[in-house]
């Protein structure tokens, strides 16, 4: 059984690499929205060097190169801590209508979840919740705050 799971994981990793390289070419073609937050303010850590969150562009749910890097670290961490389950919270900024933002948050959280799964983390270990614009990380009404609020956050389930 153990062997089988491992094999499956390896296959998934290979698959992910293929998907990834396809994505990165698409990225170069110019999906780059300029307002994805790249700093570390408000970021917390699941473990040393493993950031808990990734950020998104306005109205977008696609993962940036940096987000993928963060999520790969999360996947490594989760593979090492097999008993750990997580919830991914999806959030939106306050510049959208409430109902649409709930859907957007859900899609962002799932973008992160899907990526973790392509790195061999079972979907059973990951639950997803959207808070829309209800729980801002930064309460300011500024472009900086909005970019910090467009996020998905991986939280350990206790």
């Amino acid at each position: 059984m153990e062997f089988k799971t491992n094999l499956k994981n390896i296959l998934l990793v290979i698959l992910a690499t293929i998907v990834l390289s396809a994505c990165s070419t698409a990225k170069k073609a110019g999906s780059g929205s300029g307002d994805v937050y790249t700093g570390t303010d408000t970021v917390e850590y699941l473990a040393s060097g493993v950031a808990d969150r990734v950020f998104f562009a306005t109205n977008k749910t696609s993962l940036t190169t940096k987000s993928r890097e963060t999520l790969r670290k999360q996947a490594t961490y989760l593979r090492k801590n097999k008993k750990l389950n997580v919830t991914i919270e999806g959030h939106a900024d306050e510049r959208g209508t409430r109902e649409f933002n709930l859907a957007l948050g859900e899609r962002r959280a799932n973008a992160a979840k899907d990526y973790l799964m392509t790195y061999g983390i079972s979907g059973k270990r990951i639950s997803v919740i959207s808070y829309g614009k209800e729980r801002p990380a930064n309460s300011d009404s500024s472009s900086l705050a909005w970019s910090q609020n467009r996020r998905s956050v991986t939280v350990k389930v206790k």
């Binding site: 109205n59 749910t61 306050e94 510049r95 959208g96 209508t97 409430r98 109902e99 649409f100 709930l102 859907a103 957007l104 859900e106 899609r107 959280a109 799932n110 973008a111 899907d114 919740i129 959207s130 209800e134 729980r135 801002p136 990380a137 930064n138 309460s139 300011d140 009404s141 500024s142 705050a145």
Partner: protein, 445 residues
Amino acid sequence: MKFFFIYILVYALHFNVAFALIQVDITRGNLDPLPIAVSPLHVDPASEQIEGIKVKNLGEDISKVIENNFRSTGLFNPLKKDAFVQKPDIAHLKPRFEDWRLIKAQALITGKLLVKDGKLKVEFRLWDLTASKELAALAFTTTPANWRRISHIISDKIYERLTGETGYFDTRIIYVSETGPKSQRIKKLAIVDQDGQNTKYLTLGNELVLTPRFNPTNQMVTYLSYFRNLPRVYLLDIETGKQEVVGNFPGMTFAPRFSPDGKKIIMSFAKDGNSDIFTMDLQTRVVEKITEHSSIDTSPSYSPDGKYICFNSDRSGLQQIYVMNSDGSGVKRITFGNGIYGTPVWSPRGDLIAFTKVRKGKFYIGVMRADGTGERLLTENFYQEAPSWSPNGRLLVFYRETKSGPKGEGFSAKLWSIDITGYNEREIKTETDASDPSWSSLLSK
């Protein structure tokens, strides 16, 4: 929670159907509101005392509620009472028209009340001062605690007589009461009379609640609750306080509304990053999938005849408004303007769809015809959304948030209403901050 059901007896003293000289045109913004005199109601000295109500002041209090209703329309200008020339009881019998005309009043409301055997009897008359005649007279009997509702019902009757349109004063607004810091708002369901009075809280604030909406009879509410951290659409019976989850969906359900017949709830269901629109029949529990698209489909709202659904989707790339048949067929995009569009709500008259538009960092509340033509933006602000129609389709209530500083200071959320002419924008003052308003239908039909 029995406040929705009251016992009111209506006696039509008589309703003069003869041609009235005063007629208020409400289809345009009225810059010259009609001067109207609301005489305090005469309190019959034979009235009993009632605990908790100052019967002596009741005539004055009722006239103030009526006056306030009329002022809030922007169509009427209630005159100051200190200029009134006749005592309430005498005016109610027969006004001296020429004296009332002297203070430039064009319409006069008079009335009297009696509290006897634990019942409140209210009688009112509406007088056309230009034509020197009575236009309407009605009497009501109810429990004294219902005096505010009686005031609203009288206001509706007068409004209907003078404008030819259905009134909207005997209505309530359900909304989300907000307290606490911006990053951790405590939210409760609350109900308030249309004039901002009589607030009642329906939930305790233990879990996040959003987007409450009445059913057509105003006895049920559907809303989103994060109970046990599982965001799901709930149904609440206002009278019994009983709550239940709507359906058994393996994921978040949100953006609920009732169908016009009240038999179904239409909502979004989000799973694996995709939101589609579903309905659930409340009786048979049958769930139907209405949209099937890899985009976000949300904020559905039925046309009043139940034949069509307008909704919000980003299938074209950005949020736009679409209309489809109620079975999900014939999807048609109706917004093509610059900017993004959300929260479509079909007018109770069926002719218009209200919406939120975001363009160049500004939020607008607007209306357009159901085919997307004739867009009119009514109000622009930093942030506002979620319009809901008054039952007569003349006004919209929505909420507006202010810009905040780095610590969330200066943040507020308030309810506002605006006439669909774009005139008469005003705040509906609530006990706490407020959002996600939804207007009831007329409580007494």
